[in-house]
Symmetry: C2
Subunit: 513 residues, 2 copies
């Protein structure tokens, strides 16, 4: 009996076996392992300049660790020059501290078939994170609720090309701010069996996340394995606030993974030029990852880069732009040179609707992220309106497009079957390949196929109502939610999770800010 | 006085000067010169296998030159083994013949500021080619007319990121088949001053194209320079029909450029595997380009690859797919190894509407084409419904996205200004970059900016009618056509062109098939 089945067996018995028998088997693609090169936009000289400059920033300008005396002491002990809340990190020190971080790690899911490997040539896809609003075709734009949250977790569970359940798939604004992390975690843990993210909005909520993970996976298992990857945003430029660092400290101490991620709208929170932004991104990640290793050497971390540009006329953030692509390509190279897994990309867009603008911008971003060597892609589906909105329709539209990334990453088969000389010989000039033996042997797997988009003849399409993509997507959302069946979970575990959530909720008054 | 002004002066005089004074100055971007690497998906070993296999195809299977005894004789004289209409080309011969084709060439426009360099690290963008239907938001889908054709030429002329006026921007179905090439050429020559394509639907129409070009540019100039690039499709698999080869012969003899282009729906006209399709593409291009050099060594040609995959359920061609991307990346590498300019890519989609599907598929295709090293991109804007429809709205939507390719291709500036260390020093931790000196000095050029998409706050956008991308595009189409002003043309030249068209039309009865 392996570790996972042993863990499953706790509190199992007859009811667990009954649950297993009724569970629905669902097709989920394995995380992507690239068999294609990364796109290397910068040469070695450029990368060395940026690395030199980032160290200059850390040493000469420094970074602020705000309202966090313990962090300042850790930095002092590590050899940094701390003046007030400003930490000046001597050239080379941050990179040296980062060396103890692993180049990759396994994030375990409660269903071991859904475990993901983060790092190397792998790419793990997770849904949109953070929007306070949702939109769907029938209901329009409105504040997100816990019911929406559960629906998005269900859609994520049902989405073949999505490997990860994500975190705050939308903000459940109908639940008190200080309690919603409990309901969100419970939803990920019970409505899906894919890996998920922990809460970061306060250190105590990170601690709750670890506690709940222990109920789900077993305390021993969590002590020895990574079962959560959480999003630690840096307050760019160059500022590490106590809330986010507090959450990072909890996760690092527990051996759980953190994405150390500058959150940058270029021209506002970073220089208006690409190389300047890359310098800042690298400096911030170096400082944040180094700090994680001061907490616990070997704690799993991810080099994060959330970057967009800004519309200089309106000040609005813009998405799917060439400058964001440049930064994403460059940051990937910097992450690989640092030997860390890389988080960036997403189905980013600024559009208010899941229309052509949304799709152009999202496709630009998704393609660029694949070629940038991203290892963990948050916001891979469902993002709308600059991240203010989780869109039901766009969730399934993007999730369908994620299939193209899987196929792109396979590269080109060069074995005898791939070369297809038999087909060329069989068909010859003027012939047709549809019926030949080589086609018959390969047609089922040769091409990616959408589960959503329209390929029908014009007349058929018109007779069927001339549906646009949003309409097709709205129908698919309804079908997926209708078909949803909850994955098997040990009833004892489910009860203990529910009891924990109830107890924690009772222990504090509601807070709505 | 240089060659071009000398040419302009013919038949000029007072009226030409008056025309020049009233001409509108219009912003058009220079063709793209890449300052970023190409994406190399295949390694040397894979490329050598494909090259070996392509030569095997040419030698062992051979290619058909149909109803073209002169071509068969040329091949015999060159050393090929001709049996019936089947030409077996000994290993290495085709590549050897291709060596006389130039690695790049200038296509001249009547306005020398619009000349384009095709080859090397350059990318020239041209609009959609060939659809029998048009669609716009108000009028829906309908057969294209000459009025539509003129409108698309005007939109192309007004589109900042489009370098080329293209060819059959739509089929003017209200004009007899045997005469429409005359009206189409006249429209390109008079309504735009960007470079254009010649007719290929019959050798006599190619000859008419050359004659009209001589009226526009002067006969001497056309004899010594390339002023047209025309699309010669191969009848895949491995078949060269007399019509297309006849047109190729006319253009090669006149020193005008041809795109030698397999037209492949993978799985139907080529093997269902990528490497097999690449083998066929290379074999076909080798044979076609070699043949052009048998007509006239040194004739300018382009390595073309129009490739899509097929939906194996319905048989419909599909666009923006990963398999098409693989082929486009690989064919670019093969073209570069052959030392030829490369044509591929386009804003391809299968959607019936300019909706999200259209934009996902088009953005996938456009991004892949840039990184594939494409030198000439036909269909860069306006393509809808698998090429059956030229869409007014999608034309301006795609044309706007072409701006992102220009900015992506610039790469990352690594000079002192690009590094932005002054900005980082000025702003420091917790600061804001919008007001800093570095931002102020760079904000006008730092970021690509759309002329179409919506970045407004939600409330403003809603008050203004909650317009989707198609609606914004429809408004932009109306504005562009309203603002259009014809570029200056020597009235003597205009008269001679009109007279030629009238005379040629009178010389033949109408034909509608």
């Amino acid at each position: 009996m392996n570790e996972v089945t042993a863990r499953r067996a706790r509190g199992g018995g007859g009811s667990a076996r009954r649950a297993e028998r009724t569970a629905v088997s669902l097709e989920t693609a394995r995380f992507i392992t690239r068999n294609i090169p990364n796109f290397e936009i910068l040469n070695d000289e450029a990368l060395q300049i940026i690395e030199w400059n980032a160290d200059t920033v850390l040493e000469e300008i420094g970074v602020n660790f705000v309202e966090n005396p313990a962090a300042l002491q850790r930095w002092r002990d590590a050899g940094a020059d701390v003046r007030g809340e400003r930490v000046h990190i001597p050239r080379g020190l941050a990179r040296q501290l980062c060396a103890s971080a692993p180049s990759g790690f396994t994030q375990h899911a409660r269903n071991p078939a859904r475990n993901v490997e983060i790092g190397g040539r792998n790419l793990v896809l997770a849904p949109v994170y953070g929007p306070p609003f949702v939109r769907d075709r029938d209901g329009g734009r409105r504040y997100a609720t816990m019911e929406d949250f559960r629906n998005f977790v269900k859609l994520g569970y049902m989405s073949k090309w999505l490997h990860h359940s994500g975190g705050t798939v939308c903000e459940p604004t109908d639940i008190p701010v200080n309690k919603r992390h409990l309901d969100m975690l419970l939803a990920h843990m019970t409505l899906s069996d894919k890996p998920f993210m922990g809460s970061v909005t306060e250190p105590s909520r990170a601690a709750d996340s670890v506690e709940m993970a222990k109920l789900l996976f077993g305390a021993d298992f969590v002590d020895r394995n990574t079962v959560m990857t959480s999003l630690i945003n840096i307050n760019s430029p160059l500022t590490f606030d106590a809330t986010m660092m507090g959450a990072l400290e909890v996760y690092a101490q527990a051996g759980q993974a953190s994405i150390v991620s500058p959150f940058i709208v270029g021209g506002a929170m970073a220089p208006v030029t690409v190389a300047g932004t890359l310098t800042q991104v690298l400096a911030e990640v170096l400082a944040g990852v180094a700090y994680s290793q001061l907490i616990r050497p070997g704690a799993p971390v991810i080099f994060g880069a959330f970057v967009t540009s800004i519309d200089m006329n309106s000040g609005a953030p813009t998405f799917g732009t060439p400058e964001a692509a440049h930064i994403t390509y460059g940051a990937g190279q910097l992450a690989r040179r640092l030997g860390l897994p890389y988080r960036s990309g997403g189905a980013f867009c600024g559009s208010k609707l899941p229309d052509a603008q949304a799709a152009y911008e999202s496709a630009n971003s998704l393609n660029m992220a694949l070629l940038s060597g991203v290892n963990f892609m948050l916001h891979a589906c469902g993002w709308l309106e600059g991240g203010l909105v989780s869109s039901y329709e766009k969730f399934v539209m993007d999730a369908d497009q994620l299939g193209t990334l899987h196929h792109l990453a396979q590269g080109i088969a060069m074995d005898d079957n791939g070369q297809g000389m038999d087909a060329l010989r069989e068909v010859g000039p003027g012939g047709h390949f549809l019926g030949c033996a080589h086609t018959q042997a390969n047609f089922k797997t040769a091409f990616w196929r959408t589960d959503l988009l329209d390929y029908k003849p014009f007349e058929t399409w018109e007779e069927e109502g001339a549906r646009d993509t949003e309409t097709l997507a709205a129908e698919r959302v309804k079908k997926m939610l209708g078909d949803y069946q909850q994955p098997m979970l040990d009833p004892g575990v489910a009860e203990s999770l529910a009891a924990f959530v109830a107890q924690r909720k009772e222990s504090m008054p509601d807070a709505f800010v």
